[in-house]
């Protein structure tokens, strides 16, 4: 229990997946323009990461390890993730049109979100148990969501500010992210395994 809670805190605040570990930077820069899209993307990512960590953990320990096929880990994981995203998309479209409208457009983008594959790989590399892996997935994706929402809030304000011509666009976004990351360094050393 203690370990689960510390995993949760470490990967949301101390070792934030976006701001400290650099996973999922592309969507972080791409969809953080509006608060609304950031919320949608964040929710979709939490959903997919939690589910994919569960499935990839089971695939690794119940299929790859018994068959001695660990070297196929990468190919299998990325296929599982891509298939899962497709499945979730189809399932949502049939069963819950409202949820689909909210998350649907973000789902295809998630396959190439490196945070998803990173969580799956790190969960196996760090020898997490099934429950720990799922909590790790939830924590990492909540951290991603939080960073995305904070960033979108800042960028909505930034739209009204006068930014020098050469810094406009991605440049100022990256510098803002740097300052945000600096703020999160305050959590450094608070908790570790």
């Amino acid at each position: 229990m203690e370990k689960l809670i510390s995993i949760l805190f470490i990967y949301i605040l101390v070792d934030n997946f976006v701001l400290q570990r650099f996973f999922g930077i592309c969507p972080f820069l791409g969809v953080s323009r509006k608060m609304e899209t950031a919320m949608g993307m964040g929710m979709a990512v939490v959903f997919v990461i939690t589910l994919s960590t569960l499935v990839t953990w089971l695939v690794h320990y119940y299929i790859l390890v018994p068959l001695g096929l660990e070297f196929l880990q990468l190919v299998t994981f990325i296929l599982v993730i891509a298939g899962l995203v497709q499945l979730v998309e189809t399932f949502l479209r049939k069963t819950s049109p409202t949820l689909y409208q909210g998350l649907g457009i973000y789902l295809p983008l998630i396959t190439t979100n490196c945070a998803v594959l990173a969580v799956a790989l790190l969960a196996v590399r760090q020898d997490f148990s099934l429950l720990e892996s799922v909590v790790f997935g939830i924590a990492a994706s909540l951290g991603f969501w939080m960073a995305l929402v904070i960033m979108s809030g800042i960028r909505e304000r930034l739209d009204l500010a006068k930014v020098p011509a050469s810094l406009q666009g991605t440049a100022i976004t990256l510098i803002t992210a740097g300052i945000l990351s600096l703020a999160f360094m305050g959590f450094r050393g608070m908790l570790s395994f």
Binding site: L19, Q20, R21, F22, F23, G24, I25, C26, L29, F71, L72, Q73, L74, V75, I78, L79, A82, G83, T111, T112, N113, C114, V116, L117, A118, L121, L122, R125, P164, A165, S166, L167, T170, A171, I172, T173, L174, I175, A177, G178, I179, S181, L182, M185
Partner: protein, 207 residues
């Protein structure tokens, strides 16, 4: 004339469509592993290898891959080459493999590689795709080298640390600016470099 097409395929990836400074793709490894020039160079070479191989295979299979399932097909091709590179690095340069960590398998989801497969190799002949892969890979490596050079010089006070050519740039009393080696430094340095390239490109009117 024929040579010109291939030359422009290479130069486009390095200058006009530089993956890091112009397209802003593949940011995760760019920001994460550029603490030392050695790591930046290692990652750059790994990406050149994967990108060139995947471009060639995707391009040569382009008539046989059905339109609807092309993305999963591309991903499997890319993942195969990344697995090969991962094993090669692990076997021959274990120190570099450890330094790059999980970012070696994460080359699979590097947007540059899938992006080039989708935008270029899936439609163009094999030889042009080969040169496009080399060009984009070189452009990516160039970006990594510039970023890691700035971060290593200021954040570590060295040049080419952990190699045989390591140079201590400043005297013994130099206190490195650790922030450059931290995540926050990566974001800020890259932001400033992007601004700089914006200015340079505008002056030279390359756009």
């Amino acid at each position: 004339m024929i040579d010109n097409v291939y030359l422009s395929d290479i130069s486009r990836g390095i200058l006009k469509e530089n993956p890091i400074f112009r397209l802003v793709l593949g940011m995760c490894p760019t920001l994460a592993i550029t603490v030392l020039v050695k790591n930046g160079l290692g990652m750059g070479l790994a990406v050149i290898a994967v990108l060139t191989c995947s471009n060639v295979v995707v391009s040569s299979l382009r008539r046989y891959i059905p339109e609807q399932v092309r993305i999963p097909c591309y991903i499997v091709i890319i993942a195969t080459f990344v697995t090969i590179i991962e094993m090669v690095l692990q076997a021959f340069v274990p120190a570099l493999y450890d330094a790059l960590g999980v970012f070696v398998p994460l080359i699979v989801v590097n947007c540059i590689i899938l992006g080039r497969a989708e935008a270029f190799a899936g439609k163009q002949p094999v030889l042009r795709s080969l040169f496009d892969g080399i060009g984009s890979g070189l452009g990516f490596t160039l970006g990594l080298l510039v970023l890691s050079l700035v971060r290593e010089v200021f954040g570590n006070g060295t040049l080419l640390a952990e190699t045989k050519m390591a140079v201590q740039l400043f005297g013994a009393n130099f206190e490195p600016m650790r922030i450059f080696a931290q995540p926050a430094g990566a974001f800020i340095v890259l932001g400033l470099l992007l601004a700089l390239t914006n200015i340079v490109f505008k002056r030279l009117q390359i756009d």
